[in-house]
Amino acid sequence: MRPDRRKFIRQTLSAALGGASLYSALGQVQLLQAASLQPSYVFNDYKALVCVFLYGGNDGFNTIVPYTQAAFNAFYGAGGVRPQLALDRAQLHPLSDLSGSSGDGIQYAMHAQMPQLAALFNQASSPLAVMANVGTLVGPVTQAQYLAGNTALPPQLYSHADQAAYWQSSPPSNQPATGWGGRICDLVASANPPNIPILTSLSGEDAFIRGSQVNGYVMNASQALTVDLPWDQHGQLENAFYALQAQGAQAHILERAYAGAINHSVATAAIMQGVLNAAGVPTFASFFPQANGYNFDAQLQTAARLIWAAYHNVSGYSGLKRQVFYVNTGGYDTHSDQLAQHPDLLGELSRALSGFYLALNSVPITGGTLARVATAFTASDFGRSMTTNSGGTDHGWGSHQLVLGGAVQGGRFYGNGCGFSGAAANYGLVMPSLLDPTSSFGVPSPNLNDPGDGNGRLIPTTSVDQYGATLARWFGLDHSDIALIFPNLSNFSPSAHYNPAGGYMGFLA
């Protein structure tokens, strides 16, 4: 524990600002060299975190569903919670949950289109855990507090952009808003070689990959695009092109930002194409039969390849100790026609995510397989309402998420009304899907996880901060830094399901 961590970060940034390097050849990446002059993290192993973001708000409550017959009936049957979204029970994949971690004595199952992930959950030494009812929180919230309106809530609940930003930033109120993927990388950057991206998106830009110092590299799902200028017999074109983009030379701030972007792109693409084309880096093609170069499967395939390359110190990509990847897919905003659309989404998720694990698990390393060094975790804008909009579901709040990797203590559910203070009646069930959470607006619902606004949204019982802290701890950050990354973490107290002094939520060893 270093009590002067905050001071340290300020010093390195101001030191960089004093020099000319701030907007130099490799843009933000270069700044890290300045930071690396200060003593900081030293790792002797390699680890990777992979954020799998499901845009639109996945309906976790039709992803992992009650299987025990009576509970199934209460949920999907006539007069139940979701009669219009009923799944075929015979097609579901029951989850063994040998430890009874669902906490409510009920057996759960995964959606019919998720056989691969269900199998991983059910296997011995399972690598797949379910983080139950997690979502955006400033601090613990009870139904009574929500109804009374006397406690801090994440701003703009149920709004896509705001809640996706909150999930990725937690909280997004800082200006400029940074993401926790970026903030984690700010802290571990100095443990890595300069210039090689340690924070890489395989599909687009978003808050998660923005740090104060580290700005994530955004590439395509299967390639990093290089700039290829036409041939010039006079040899002038390239000189002129780069002279016009000279780093930091422009008078206008947006011109400097653009020049920074193109220089960062050019320098980094050369590194990435080098490693992706390097001899010996496996394609893992057999684990991603539906990867086509640009889809979600391809994103995870490329992430697996890069993790392999980093672990094996492929030339040009060597010396990496910590990396964060960002992959994503969309279409989860299932307001209508959910029974037709949701299965395809879950099928894609199960297929590609399991492929990622199995690919890494096929590579033996000392003491295990490469799967041990990578942890993938899902996130999404929000969960969805228990109620339906005739065929679909509306924006919700808490939802279930999946964590997958060789270091995951899988085969069980995590979470509870963790950290809540007050009467036991305020504690939620781990899997809070069963009581009808709907009631008229402002009337307390029998399910104490329901905010009571009449749409069956569930108040999360675990916060994004607690979820992220668990991942950050496994990544090797010390407690004081984790508290910096997640400034609201201190609002959550230890409980039987949450041990901040140890592994936080506990799903990673």
Partner: protein, 627 residues
């Protein structure tokens, strides 16, 4: 709660702000032009550079002809000419391809129609009709980035006619009243599908069915007032240091109950939950949604309805924003839209975004406040609220729009959007469709032979996704990833821009991949797609290609080489592409690169100078920022 991270970042921002911006040497600054606000603004422009700069904000890219026209008319008359120019209809083009050419239409038809309107010029079905409504189309495109629908939606992608019809709503109302625009957007089937108001029934608690909140939420959050109470100058109202929310969740729920009972115009009430698009013709996408009272929550159905609906509450709200029971779908909708329209946030919220789309990413609060005032009262005897024509006029003739580049030379302006760079390039370079033939597939004949004004082609016009077509544009109208558009108005790229407290929304689209791909594709369009290059007779569709020959005479007087520098070409492109704002450094860099090209390089040496100039200019950091 003590937020350490905010404290830390805040400290950094302060530190950065205290530093001077990078000191620029004189050759890194554009020459100071005439026009610093001392003369009568509306009497301008007084030179071609000011004219080009105005056109960069108000059209899809300056051309020499438009610069001359603006100088002849001056701002006020030019604006009036634009306000009165006939609107180019996307449906008109779509229907021509569908009904007259008798082709199978699709997303490509939609894109061709958009480029026809954006590029302007002759109509393909009657070359005597000249599309000149540049300002209307530019404003409509800006509106399409606020009132977002997208053919990335699975259903909408199958009905491009519905998107054409929707775009016409934006075009037709670009100079109309915001209240009318809001209603026509609300009732358009494309929006109804995209945000689920179409077919939204009143609650049925027995089935645990509740009205969908999607449209209720976004019409407030994105299309009108935003999430926090604003001052007239666009700054957030604070209470105890925290922004004041415009509404709570209960308000969204109540709006959702108002927005029930609307469906396809040809639906019948007994079939409300099962009505769908007309899969054969798509015709019901081309009429506004119709009301079905039995399915509308008007507050009278006990248990299911909300009897008294609390909508937006603000000083002066009619009836305190409370909608009483007993209305019709139409009267309830009118009450709800009036309730939104009258909210004091609409002026600053919409006004600031229109400024950002046309002029600058970071308007001063005073600029926003001036536009808000016009939105709130157009100054006419009737004191009309929401007059978009006057809002647009005020945005473009504001002293900050006209002189911001002189007063804030290091921050004023905006990153150009990829699609606007493409239209600019094509307009400035006389592009038209070239090559292609009339060919038949499955009994349908397609017509791309001798069709200079059908803007078709996979390489350029139609391709948007970098990974699929390699077009490098990564942006097409009505093709955003989500309702949050290609970029959000408050996006700040990490680093110097964010640290300075500025935003630059368009950077959100400019990922590492896009900037590389865009550079490469500019090379292809500059070097390889010219109407002087012979066609492949087997090519079906052809492509949009530029006309380098139009500028050949500018590229050299004699035989090229250092003794015959292309100064006239650089000057012309400085005007057309950079509104005369090219720095001496960039000018010298271009001359150094182009000078060696001479007649020894072949008879097309002038073209070689042109395509080098185009590539270097269109990819340069200086050009990227519209200032």
């Amino acid at each position: 709660m003590y937020n350490h991270w905010a404290l830390r970042v805040g400290a950094c921002a302060l530190l950065l702000a205290a530093l001077p911006l990078v000191a620029a040497t004189p050759d890194r600054l554009p020459g100071r032009m005439f026009g610093d606000g001392m003369e009568d603004l509306v009497a301008g422009p007084f030179n071609d550079e000011d004219a080009a700069r105005f056109l960069a904000q108000s059209t899809f890219g300056p051309t020499d002809a438009d610069i001359a026209r603006l100088r002849q008319l001056r701002y006020a008359a030019w604006l009036d000419e634009q306000f009165n120019a006939a609107a180019t209809s996307q449906m008109a083009y779509y229907n021509w391809v569908d009904d007259v050419l008798d082709e199978n239409t699709g997303t490509t038809t939609l894109r061709e129609g958009w480029f026809l309107a954006a590029l302007g010029g002759p109509d393909p079905q009657n070359n005597l009709i000249i599309h000149r409504d540049q300002l209307r189309q530019r404003v409509a495109f800006a509106l399409s980035e606020i009132f977002v629908v997208s053919d990335q939606n699975a259903l909408l992608s199958q009905f491009p006619n519905g998107l054409s019809w929707y775009y016409d709503v934006l075009v037709n109302n670009a100079f109309g009243n915001f209240r009318t625009l809001l209603e026509q957007v609300t009732l358009s089937p494309a929006m109804g599908v995209y945000l689920n108001m179409l077919g939204n029934p009143r609650a049925n608690l027995a089935q645990n069915v509740h009205p969908d909140e999607n449209y209720a939420r976004e019409v407030n959050q994105l299309f009108s007032i935003g999430l926090v109470m604003l001052n007239a100058d666009g700054s957030p109202q604070l209470n105890g240091g925290q922004p004041v929310p415009t509404y709570q969740q209960a308000v969204v729920k109540h709006f959702a109950h108002v927005f029930t009972g609307w469906n396809w115009s040809d639906c019948d009430s007994g079939n409300f939950l099962d009505c769908g698009p007309d899969w054969t013709t798509g015709a019901n996408f081309e009429t506004p949604m119709a009301a079905f009272p039995d399915w509308h929550d008007n507050g009278t159905q006990a248990g299911n309805d909300i009897p008294v609906k609390q909508l937006l509450s603000y000083p002066g709200a009619v009836n305190g924003g409370v909608l009483a029971a007993g209305g019709t779908p139409q009267s309830d909708l009118a009450f709800a839209l009036d309730n939104i329209f009258r909210h004091p946030n609409v002026g600053p919220y919409i006004g600031k975004q229109l400024i950002q789309r046309l002029v600058t990413s970071n308007p001063s609060p005073a600029y926003v406040a001036r536009i808000t005032a016009v939105f709130n009262d157009d100054g006419s005897p009737a004191h009309v609220r929401g007059n978009l024509k006057e809002v647009v006029r005020a945005i473009l003739l504001d002293p900050e729009a006209r002189y911001g580049h002189l007063r804030q030379p290091e921050t004023f302006g905006k990153l150009r959007e990829p699609l606007l760079r493409l239209t600019h390039f094509w307009r400035a370079m006389g592009a038209r469709h070239h090559c292609g033939r009339n060919y038949s597939v499955g009994g349908v004949t397609y017509h791309y032979q001798n069709q200079p004004y059908r803007y078709a082609g996979y390489v350029t016009a139609w391709g948007t996704s970098d990974s699929i077509y390699g077009s490098g544009v990564a942006q097409a109208p009505l093709n955003a990833f989500s309702v949050f558009n290609f970029f959000q108005p408050d996006y700040a790229p990490p680093g110097e821009v964010a640290a300075a407290g500025l935003v630059a929304p368009e950077f959100q689209l400019h990922t590492d991949t896009l900037v590389a791909n865009s550079t490469n594709s500019t090379a292809g369009k500059s070097f390889g797609l010219d109407i002087a290059i012979a066609c492949d007779p087997d090519e079906d569709i052809g492509d949009v290609k530029i006309d380098r020959a139009q500028d050949a005479a500018l590229a050299g007087n004699a035989n090229g080489g250092p003794g015959d520098p292309p100064t006239r070409l650089i000057d012309a492109y400085n005007l057309r592409f950079l509104s005369g704002q090219m720095t001496p450094f960039m000018r010298q860099t271009l001359l150094t690169a182009l000078n060696p090209v001479s007649s020894a390089d072949g008879p097309d040496w002038r073209f070689q100078r042109i395509h080098r100039a185009l590539l270097l200019i269109q990819t340069s950091a200086e050009y990227m920022v519209q200032k």
